[in-house]
Amino acid sequence: MIEIKGLYKRFADKDILTDVNLTFEEGKTNLIIGQSGSGKTVLMKCAVGLEIPSQGEILYSGRAFTHASLEEKMAIRKEIGMVFQGGALFDSMTVEENVAFPLRMFTDMAKSELEDRVNFCLNRVNLNQAHSKYPAEISGGMKKRVAIARAIALNPKYLFFDEPNSGLDPRTSLVIDALIQEITQEYKTVTIVNTHDMNSVLEIGDHIAFIFKGNVVWTGDSNSIIKAQVPEVRDFVFATPLMKKMFK
């Protein structure tokens, strides 16, 4: 379980996040949605400690994270997997080496065991042909999948995805969504996904938090979001003509 308590984030004089309180549970796909610039990425970066919150606390299964020492933070981070918006693959390493990196760094696996694990993770994301390619030589969707394979290599307890679908075609998008949901249910991870993709919202939203200008203005799930009465949420959900046609 991840708990965010009374989180504030200020840049210079601008309040980006104000009093965010959220709880994310195991085995559920938690979505953070909201329009561009609403503060989703900042929230995620605060949660994993890449940005320091101005105020508030984050708890990982009851363990205080935000004000923990560097050593304690590093211990918790070994249980975190994160997929960045741009993939953030190590560009000097091949696909295979990228996935093997956390394994080599943090375990004493024998070579054959390591290879098995790398193959398993790459299979899991349906990537079988790109093992010895470099990130510059593969497509955007493939990069995302390698990033997911790398994030799950160490069996993390907590998984973060920043816009896993942006820049992908609808089909690949669906594949990635299904993958996120499967992994979450199979390994009972606490999964948090930033997205503004309505498809994902309807497909995999077990628990949804809607952010508007740095405030959580609505929480619910994929069924209740259609009926939400908060005007900002309605604007967001029914922004496309397709959604309007389908539900009105």
């Binding site: 890449l50 590093m74 990196f101 760094m105």
Partner: protein, 246 residues
């Protein structure tokens, strides 16, 4: 940002680089890769520059000594002094600041703006230590070697100049070379080259590590890395010379 802010941030980064919580199993592998990149990759340019500069220094000496009271052997002596005291440590360091410094700053800077450093941090890796320590240690090891090589080639360049122009015969050049030779001057140069190695790698790594923005900022910061490292080299050259020679 003010000088003191920058300096404080720089010290913290260096501290974090050496503190190394957790082990880095890649260190050996990275160390040898950096040795190759920072060392072997610079041999060519340093060899060429040292040969030519040694030759030029010898010719300039010859051109300036037309007083019959000054023995011609002075050409060898003066070439040795210039090469050993200043050229092979300081000038070579300035050249390396341009070559190695900009490549380190842009490599680490690119990793910063493409979130690769964040990805390392999220995994629980000490990114400063992982990225910077192999570069610093490799250059501390290889820089003195490059400096010694440059000394040898500088002297050899002077020798070639004497032979090819006929301004001085080989035995006289050699006599000049050995005249009042103080081994400590070699030590002095080696000490300088080690300090300069640290300056070049740590300052350029710092510039890369804290880049904010995109490719433009990466470029700006690698230029800054070269400028700041060069200024630091000149400053420490003065300090070390004062401490070690006076």
């Amino acid at each position: 940002m003010s000088f003191f802010e920058n300096f404080g941030k720089y010290c913290l980064l260096v501290f974090r680089t050496f503190k190394q919580p957790g082990r880095n199993k890649f260190f050996r592998e990275q160390f040898f890769r950096e040795l190759e990149a920072l060392g072997l990759g610079s041999i060519g340019i340093i060899a060429i520059i040292s040969l030519f500069m040694g030759a030029v220094i010898a010719i300039q000496m010859a051109a300036n000594i037309d007083n019959p009271l000054i023995p011609r052997e002075t050409i060898g002596y003066a070439t040795r002094e210039s090469v050993f005291l200043e050229f092979s440590s300081t000038v070579v360091a300035l050249i390396l600041a341009g070559k190695v410094g900009s490549s380190i700053a842009s490599e680490i800077g690119t990793m910063r703006v493409t979130e690769q450093i964040d990805a390392l941090e999220i995994m629980g890796v000490n990114s400063a230590s992982y990225l910077i320590l192999p570069k610093i240690t490799a250059s501390l090891v290889i820089n003195p070697v490059l400096t010694l090589m440059s000394m040898f080639l500088g002297i050899f360049g002077g020798y070639l100049a004497c032979l090819l122009t006929g301004m001085l015969d080989a035995p006289s050049y050699l006599t000049g070379l050995l005249f009042e030779f103080r081994p400590f001057n070699v030590v002095y140069s080696i000490i300088k080259s080690i300090v300069f190695a640290f300056i070049i790698t740590s300052i350029s790594a710092y510039r890369g590590y804290y880049v904010e923005g995109g490719s433009r900022e990466v470029g700006e910061n690698s230029t800054k890395a070269v400028v700041k490292a060069s200024i630091a080299i000149l400053f420490w050259n003065l300090i070390l010379t004062r401490i070690l020679l006076l």
